[in-house]
Assembly symmetry: C2
Homo-oligomer: 637 residues x 2
């Protein structure tokens, strides 16, 4: 202020530096920071890929060349990638501590902000109703029985004149009515007919709580919801304790079929849910007994294991479930430690490998309210894909195998502390830079790390389009190891395990098969409805996997279709969000059932064009390069 | 046969005597027997009251002056009272061994013949349906889930496309369908909407069994029914094990309110039911698990205790139940040891003291199909009375107290072995003759014995119309005892207890109050609808008490209205018969609910004319003698 500055230049103020820096127009924020002597980490070498250089533009005009890894909320808060953002006026920039960025990128322990759906305050849409009714006490002239007296009062108050009830609930009815001096609050679930009684208590206006739960094969997420306001008051996430008995659905199904394996798996997932519920309730200072409803989503195997339904037929041709639309259940019956008569609504699935996680995902991802066609993918052990609009939906499940979850790969591990989650390879030296979850010594590669590594190896020529190593390269990192040709990412002395962390030819084959299965799924769905994948308005990516995936690299290996990055939208856990909507809103709950019924399921293993589509996709990025123009361009540079 | 016989005389052949006896026309069978030297016991002195002289007329013409104590089945089988039956032609007579007669009169261990209701073979009326369905196995082109596959096949077969099911039932679904090679028999209950699944089994045509159960305060009766044919295949009856914890409903309610009393009573009645069920099943060689439905009736207190519902409010003004129309329940939930998912249908009641036993009674007694007005009475600890026709029904409960069940009377006992059940007093000597159940030494008086004794004392002048003893009579049997004036029926040396068995003034007061309460009930009901009791076409008497009651004596003490004997009809256990009909037939089941809703209940303790009616009835037979012309006539003789 008052100091001379170069004509047509801009002033940049960094919160971590005392003085403003003058820079010419068009300077990148990263370059301005370097000029000021401020260290902003750029592990990907300023390629706009890693998201680690995110800064917050507090005021002033900038232009973002890329917004990769920034959410809408990030953008609204002014976040920008220092390596990709051009200064176009005087700006103030905050440089967040690296831990904060790291945390944002690698975990989701902070509660995502959940928007309460519009119109939720309209009581008629709520699935749980609570009516306070005042009865006249019985007299010698009016000896109506307790239950009928309650129903009569309820009819006057709400129009509801029948309630499903259990013997146990009737056993405490008389005492409650009398203790409450004939004024009680009646809570019931209106998603079934007749509505289902949950509880009768002395009149009160206590908050009613609900849970939206997603049971993933790897992770269980629980949201604690204030059913009156729709607000999410607490969230808790942890590994599914079943993991100890098998990492993917297939191994769990096999485990379930042995001795008491099914019962053991049921107990384990219940432990996970109940522990998380307790944690979420403690966080919001709510008694678990105040939770009157839980709406659950998850894949069909998880739902079967939770309910104690034998999952064997899911695994065996012709792959059928015991039930896709389970009835409304009671917490005590299921084993959830909430209100004993709390209702448990297990959302409907479509098929053995397209479960409630997908129908809930479609509910929450907005596909059903868009007339233009969108593509939805939820990648985990399996990749479930849905293509459609408000008019139609087709779906399929690609048995990608667990490669993207780190299994079936020599040094593959889950996306956990010590996992290499992103790799950059220098095109000249073939030396890698990598990012490790938790910033510790690496133990192995998680899914996103493998995608990243494969893309970098391909683009730098470490492997060719078939995934074959170029053993002629002048680097000790490409070598013939015990397991055949391999590329060493981390030498033994720098690894947590004391071993060289390498990717082998076999690993690459597994990854190619996994990505080919998924891409073939896209192809088949598009072919079935006679459209070009490119015509999809948006690609919606759900699931935990989708939170960290690097779109650019996923396109480079031919896992995702080649489209502009801004058409990819990362939605995080669409399954728990769908459960949340169905928990709150009868119409949303009815919509999930409708989605489940309306979805056309295509069984890929019964599709005779699948094998061709799969083998064509076994190359990097694909046999048909015209499908991947951006990759072709990148290969040319 | 070739032998000369007196002109205009008749030949009588007794099966116990070698030669026919010739008698003049108009001879009583009893006199003919005496002439032949055959002993036929006549403890009532040939007054046609005791029924002990019943013989079987195998051929020939007779005229029965009285048919007291003979059922329609007895008459069809040719039974006649030897003391009341006039010989009008050549006859053959079988004299049954006395034990047989005794057994017929004092117990009902033999199965009453139950007529299968007409039209029952129309499948649409059956409450339980079993459909055998053949499904196509799942294929890669048809991956419908197991449950939906079953429902689809069921819809084609029966039109039923939804079934209520439990998680437990779904858990075995997949294995059953596959073991059965996709051809199964599905059993479900159609009395609720949607119908309720009971079982899925490999296709079979096994018989489906049901139970009709009456839970009386004193006695539990179980009928085992073939649900296809409607036939009753076995019956079992025993005391309600709750008796050990209180003889009447009031003392059981009090017991239930102490500590775990309610749970103990629930366990006891379940033991009774389950033991009887086992016995009935053993008798018909049926596995209890083959029983898929139980329909229960009983008074409101019994129903509450069975279901574990607190009965306290039944006893306390304003006398209300927890629930009059319980929901359809599951055998496992209730504790019945039949098919675990067998449905338990507890029939609806009307009020605290007009329970399902009465609605079931009305269903089975035919009142609802008659345009003329009938009176129905079920006398036990309480006397429930229903007056009405196909157009209307009014009901009330008279708290008669337990006097007629032998309680509240010095030497009163239940109608069990050793109970004096009938008494005759010689009008000149005041010496009694009496009949003891089981033909043993007497221990005390049961209800029918007390009615009989009171009537005889009144008619012979031992007591006056107020029940006061005439201490001037020249007999040692009328005396002032420890407990005031009394009449000794059995001296100590002849009694089982070694005590004089006497009836005291206090006993008489209790009996008068009991009978006055019941008669006042008749009066109030008739007054309310503005009719004369005499205009009732029939008096239908139900309940165990009604099986042995001597109408003549009951009229003489003013317990029953004074009407021609042939208008009284003894129906036995109308409650279990009503349960049987509701078990078999959806329309009958709907009719019970309709009866329960349509019945106008009159609370006598809230009726301001009740006290007058009651005090007027405290006399023998009544203050208003014009109500009892036949008794007035008998008193004059």
């Amino acid at each position: 202020m008052g100091r001379e500055i170069p004509v047509a230049g801009h002033l940049v103020r960094f919160d971590t530096h005392p003085d403003p820096i003058a820079v010419p127009p068009g300077t990148l924020i990263g370059d301005a920071a370097r000029q000021a002597g401020i260290e902003i980490r750029q592990p990907c070498g300023g390629q706009g890929r890693c998201g680690r250089c995110a800064v917050q533009v507090e005021s002033g005009r900038v232009r973002r060349r890329s917004i990769l890894r920034l959410s809408k909320a990030d953008l609204d808060a002014g976040y920008a990638l220092a390596c990709q953002t051009v200064i176009e006026g005087d700006v103030s920039v905050r440089v967040p501590p690296p831990e904060l960025i790291e945390r944002r990128l690698t975990t989701e322990q902070t509660a995502p902000e959940v928007e309460v759906p519009a119109g939720y305050n309209a009581a008629y849409v709520q699935t749980i109703q609570c009516a306070t009714v005042q009865m006249s006490p019985p007299t010698m002239d009016d000896q109506t029985d307790d239950w009928e007296r309650l129903l009569t009062a309820l009819r006057v108050e709400t129009g509801v004149d029948r309630l499903n009830t259990s013997l146990e609930q009737l056993r405490t009815l008389g005492a409650t009515l009398r203790e409450a001096d004939w004024k009680v609050s009646v809570t019931f679930d209106t998603t079934c007919e007749p509505p289902c009684l949950i509880g009768i208590e002395p009149a009160n206006d206590a908050t009613l709580w609900g849970l939206a739960i997603d049971i993933g094969t790897t992770t269980v997420s629980v949201w604690l919801v204030d059913l009156s306001s729709g607000e999410v008051k607490a969230q808790a996430t942890d590994y599914n304790r079943q993991i100890a008995r098998g990492e993917d659905v297939i191994s769990r199904i096999i485990y379930a079929s042995k001795n008491d394996g099914g019962e053991e798996l049921r107990t384990l997932v219940l432990e996970s849910i109940n522990t998380l519920t307790k944690a979420a309730c403690a966080q919001a200072e709510v008694a678990p007994e105040a939770v009157v409803k839980a709406t659950l989503s998850g894949n069909s195997t998880m739902m079967h294991l939770l309910l104690g339904l034998p999952p064997q037929s899911i695994r065996l041709e012709p792959f059928v479930t015991a039930i896709n639309h389970p009835p409304l259940l009671c917490a005590r019956e299921v084993g959830l430690e909430i209100h004993p008569y709390g209702r448990v609504d297990v959302l409907p699935g479509v098929a053995s490998y397209v479960g409630a996680d997908i129908t809930a995902g479609v509910l929450s991802n907005g596909m059903r309210s868009s007339e233009s066609v969108r593509l939805f993918i939820d990648v985990g052990t399996n990749g479930e894909i849905v293509l459609g609009s408000s008019d139609w939906l087709v779906t399929c499940a690609c048995s990608a195998g667990p490669a993207f979850e780190g299994a079936g790969v020599l040094h593959g591990i889950r996306a956990d502390r010590g996992a290499i989650e992103e790799v950059w390879i220098d095109g000249d030296t073939y030396e890698p830079t990598f990012q490790v979850i938790g910033r510790t010594k690496p133990r192995g590669f998680c899914g996103s790390g493998l995608i990243s590594l494969l893309a970098e190896m391909f683009l730098t020529g470490v492997v060719d389009k078939s995934g074959h190593f170029d053993l002629s390269l002048e680097t000790p990192r490409v070598r013939k190891g015990e397991n055949g040709p391999e590329y060493v990412v981390c030498w033994a002395d720098a690894s947590e395990t004391g071993e060289d962390l390498a990717i082998t030819r076999t690993d690459i084959d597994n990854l190619l098969r996994a990505k080919a299965a998924i891409y073939a799924g896209f192809t088949i769905l598009a072919d079935r409805v006679g459209m070009d994948l490119k015509d999809a308005e948006q690609v919606l990516i759900g699931g935990a996997f989708g939170k960290y995936i690097n779109v650019e690299k996923a396109i480079e290996i031919g896992l995702l279709p080649d489209m502009d990055w801004d058409r990819f939208q990362f939605l995080g856990n669409t399954s728990v969000r769908g459960a949340y909507l169905a928990l709150l809103d009868r119409e949303a709950r009815a919509a999930v059932a409708q989605i489940a019924s309306a979805m056309t399921y295509i069984e890929l293993s019964a599709d005779n064009t699948f094998y061709d589509a799969f083998t064509s996709a076994l190359f990097l990025p694909h046999t048909d390069l015209s499908r991947f123009p951006s990759v072709t361009a990148a290969m040319a540079t």
